[in-house]
Subunit: 408 residues, 2 copies
């Protein structure tokens, strides 16, 4: 049923050509966990010496595989690592059965790959509260392990989709000291997308050399400016996981390297934007730039208040330059604002200033602007130096169709 | 256009018979502020000796009449008071023009009624950011003042509607020391409804005797358990105002009287429920009872997280007992929760316990329950004594229709 959704109008033209990351191999299979006629399990196996960093949902009702990954992240190892992900069932709120499924899956992967279970990470995404039929997965591990392929990343991206309407990938290469370092990542996510965590399932691979603590710090810092700045529907998943694996195969140490950090940021932001562009029912991609806030936290609070407001999102869906709803969302956010210092723009069009509509504002111009597919809404609070940018989509009949009518 | 909306399926059969409150008279008129073919301005005039309490939106972008009312509330007076409300235009984010409109309206009412301007309260509801054509209102004040009628409360309730599909009223009478004390209130509200303030426009009248500071305290306490516990769409208006006026005509002092407080609570809760029952696009009325939370604040945070979750609200619209989304909403709320102590019920049906679906749970029974129009979802967190109840409605195509397609 998931496959019947039309491709998002905001989708990129095609899946990008991603650089092959030496030290990572992928396999995927149609195990029939829940969906039929499509792949739903992917395995990634990482070469010895790979460092693994991860950030996970802060939900108090985290899924079993999330808790297991959190236990394992940061354990130093030379053995390499593996990541096993299934779609169709989130193995969330499944009590003791959930933990048992994770243990069975990790043991099967460990047995097949020769890795210790402490280096096998798993994730599950899909419906919440139903027992995971883990035998359907463990029965296929040997086959997965036998078909690992360094070029299998696109198929892996497809296998982890749920209500996604397109597979999401992003890659960058950066030359450091004459050596090329590559980054390639995949993501899934379309609904139950809200910030303040690592959003959805994201796996990023690089052949750079970085030790685990520094990789973890870098990942956390960049997550705050990328995945934690997007929202589709303000709802936070119980399964959100973002992992970054550095195989070291390039032999280039990127510790403290700004060019590498910038390239990694670009990959993460690209994937985050793709998640928004596949937001359930989305017809518009919206960037909300907040400046002049009392501080950075306030800027983000205002940005997310606008981005999560159902009235703002429905106005955007209706191509209505209803800036009064932006004022409303700023007012309700709880962060500092002075009505009479607000300055609001749609694109380059100055809409409101000095606590009222701008004298030069022409609604026809704004209405014309709102017809675009990609929109920028800028708000200056006139209070200080705090700024933040967040990204969201509109709220349409498509969102109701997808979420009122069936379970993903 | 507002009048073209069909009456909510959750609406009461008819407007209730409200007790006449001695010392209050109403008038309403079709002034053409924005709408045509319907009344849009109401005036209430209160007898000398009336005490007036009020609670207002905490939005940082409050409308001009809200700021004016906040200035005036609590000023003791023997002169009586007046309340003038228009629909069609919120006079919000209208800069200096907004404050001027409020002053002009209050002066016109003061001139006609003989009251000082400090005792004239006003409110405006409707579109944000457009200048209020206040002359259309001030031109009709003399006519309003000449047609005041103690029986005009229903017409007043109709005049303040915007996207409301039915007029909202509630009344109670309570006998204290052999004397009857009456309470009658009206409300408007349908969208941009979220808690943490007095919600929308609400006017309640009683012939009880209560001094202003005690009336204010009582109102604030009861608001926290009624209007501040409802949500339609998590969006907070810039104009929310709730005023309670005690004329004293019954000569019954109700200070510290529990029966009066209970009756007032009932009127407020009745009106609050009517606002939810007229939630934009609503097809289900949902009570969410949270118990066993670490404390009262946590209980309310969890309740509102569930009530505001688009995924929970769309599942309810689809009559899907998708309790996994309840788990998700609890997990994301930020308040304390232990996944494995959660207990969730739909009506009397135990759905989840001990971190997983209940062994006795049958989805068919829950699916049958979800077809009802009025639903109760109960969550016990198993942590402490904190409890709270909140009320909301579902999220349907109707909400998108109303908010994406035109401005209210």
């Amino acid at each position: 049923m998931v496959n019947t959704l039309p491709r998002s109008p905001l989708a990129p033209a095609s899946f990008p050509d991603l650089p092959v990351i030496e030290g990572v191999r992928f396999a995927s299979v149609a195990a029939g966990v829940r969906y039929t006629g499509r792949t739903d399990v992917m395995l990634a196996v990482l070469a010895p010496g790979t460092t693994v960093a991860g950030v996970f949902t802060r939900s108090a009702t985290r899924a079993a595989p999330v808790l297991d990954c959190q236990d394992k992240i940061g354990q130093a190892a030379d053995e390499g690592a593996a990541i096993l992900v299934n779609s169709g069932n989130a193995n969330a709120f499944t009590g003791r059965h959930g933990a048992k499924s994770v243990a069975e899956i990790c043991k099967a992967v460990a047995d097949a790959t020769g890795l210790p279970t402490t280096r096998v990470f798993s994730a599950s995404t899909g419906v919440i509260g139903e027992p995971l039929p883990h035998e359907r997965i463990t029965d296929r591990i040997a086959e997965l392990n036998a078909t690992l392929d360094a070029g299998g990343i696109k198929a892996a991206a497809e296998a982890i989709m749920t209500t996604d309407t397109f597979a999401k990938g992003a890659g960058r290469q950066v030359v450091i000291d004459g050596q090329t370092v590559s980054i390639a990542g995949i993501a899934k996510g379309s609904g139950m997308i809200a910030p303040d965590m690592a959003t959805m399932l994201v796996y990023i691979f690089t052949d750079a050399v970085v030790d685990q603590p520094r990789l973890q710090t870098l990942l956390a810092d960049l997550t705050d400016r990328t995945f934690n700045c997007i929202t589709v529907d303000s709802d936070t998943s119980t399964s959100d996981s973002l992992m970054l694996c550095a195989t070291g195969a390039s032999q280039v140490d990127v510790t403290q390297n700004a060019a590498f950090a910038a390239a990694l940021h670009d990959v993460m932001l690209d994937l985050a934007h793709q998640v928004v562009r596949d937001g359930e029912g989305a017809s518009k991609f919206v960037e909300i730039r907040v400046t002049g806030a009392a501080n950075t936290d306030d800027a983000k609070v205002h940005g997310l208040s606008i981005a999560n407001s159902p009235l703002v999102k429905t106005a955007i869906a209706g191509e209505d330059p209803n800036w009064g709803r932006i004022v409303m969302a700023i007012g309700k956010s709880g962060a500092s604002a002075d009505r009479d210092r607000l300055n609001i723009r749609f694109g380059d069009i100055l809409v409101a200033e000095n606590g009222w509509v701008s004298p030069d504002y022409r609604e026809e111009a704004a209405a014309e602007y709102m017809k675009r597919q990609d929109l920028v809404i800028s708000v200056d609070l006139g209070l200080g130096d705090g700024q933040a940018t967040v990204w969201t989509c509109d709220l349409t009949h498509g969102y109701i169709d997808i979420n009122a009518d069936y379970r993903s």
